[in-house]
Subunit: 241 residues, 2 copies
DNA sequence: CGGAGGTTTGAGCAGCCTCAATGCTCGTGG
DNA sequence: CCACGAGCATTGAGGCTGCTCAAACCTCCG
């Protein structure tokens, strides 16, 4: 299913067939990491670019007192540290939260990809979108209620997973513990649990294990104040007049 | 004082003299905005790149209920929306918080600049640093106490303003109201006020109007858990063994 | 069967937010 | 020179709610 690495980029920018082939060839099969493994540790130097082929991960920072903040999710197609080799040390860590297949590209590989205009554009775009997501998360943590924060993340996951073919129109598998969800939105596990209960109580979501179903997507989006514009997907752009 | 637009970039990457000249020539004198003016509004389309020559601004998003979240500060030397013309609409607004001089570069101008390797590198670097700051802010809001949050922002401002020659070793002028500080770190004005009082009470800062003095910079940094690594300044890189 | 990791629940407290009023500072106009 | 107003800083009271601490339960999986 390494098809999904294309999905993420094509959602942002169309790619010629030969670019897709090049991408597959350069990325290859990748190496396998198991859930919980670090992809890159905080403070490490790295001179390769990691690409998620399969599986899910996240970026995080830890504080001296052991608290952790998750600062981004990694999905198939993500170039985790594009141009990150410019920095001599990583200012945050990245970890696999499910089993992952990950490619490690050298600078030459990256140059090969970015010499293709459409690919370069898609990668640029994806970097810009990463920044945009970060800004939206800031809004989420700073200015929304706990329930709305959790609802907002669920909306984002629904949309982002749809793009890589891992969600239906109204459901997806949440690959995160409530603890990790809390580390994402700045709440404790207990508060996340109660926020989810409120969402269930309001009929905005239903859960069976980690399978999340959203009976009325528009209602959840409204509740969460979720506007997918910040994800800058092509489909949104083309729907507009 | 348009010297400071160089300061910001040179703090990240050294520039040849001719690149600096080119930068000055392209940027020019810019146009003047008064405090409170919008540089770009949320949802606008823009096909120019705004560069802050002089003055301070911020990026923000507003919520349906009128709440506001500040998602970044703009200082002299910032290319506010580099490559932002790739997007068809801004997902956030930018406003001047003091009087500003602002240049508007066309795509050709930008191409002229990025065809110089050192400049391209410096601009890339500065984009990466913007992302890094965003991640640190996320940690700040999600996982630090109100006092530490405010202290952290003060540390960041001290360091960032030093780079553009607008702060001494231990003091700077805070160009933000307590309301704006609150919109930055996810607190109310009242809580910011009380956080500042605690910092003053602990002897970590002293204030005279909006002039902030930090008697013991190391102590404030320790209290705030501030590690300037995320700003990726050259000076930090070169100090390391 | 046992254990680990994750979810759920309860009680109690600290602290952030809301609401509201009072000062303070500085620039403007009389 | 002073009165005035706008914008910002500061203070107080009170309620809500997110956090802490702790325990129980549930679900896989070896």
């Amino acid at each position: 299913m390494s098809q999904s690495i294309i999905g993420k980029l094509e959602a942002l920018h169309p790619l010629p067939e030969e670019d897709k082939k090049l991408l597959h060839a350069v990325v290859g099969r990748g190496k396998t990491l198991k859930a919980g493994d670090d992809i890159v540790r905080e403070g490490d130097h790295t001179d390769v670019v990691h690409v998620i082929i399969e599986g899910h991960g996240f970026r995080y920072k830890t504080l001296p007192d052991g608290k952790r903040q998750i600062i981004g999710y990694l999905v198939p197609g993500d170039f985790c540290d594009l141009y990150g080799f410019l920095f001599d040390r990583m200012d945050h860590g990245m970890a696999a939260r499910t089993q992952c297949r990950i490619a490690q590209l050298t600078e030459e590989h990256v140059l090969m990809l970015t010499s293709r205009p459409a690919l370069a554009r898609a990668l640029w775009w994806s970097e810009l979108v990463n920044g945009s997501i970060l800004r939206e998360w800031l809004v989420n943590m700073g200015r929304r209620t706990p329930s709305a924060r959790v609802a907002h993340i669920l909306c984002e996951l629904l949309v982002r997973l749809q793009v890589v073919g891992q969600a239906t129109a109204d459901s997806f598998k949440l690959e995160l513990s409530q603890n990790e969800l809390g580390d994402t939105v700045g709440l404790t596990t207990v508060s996340v649990n109660r926020a989810l209960q409120r969402l269930r109580g309001a009929g905005l979501i239903s859960q069976s294990g980690r399978e999340i179903t959203i009976p009325d997507v528009a209602a959840l989006k409204a509740f969460a104040d979720f506007d997918p514009g910040y994800l800058h997907f092509r489909q949104d752009r083309e729907e507009r007049p």
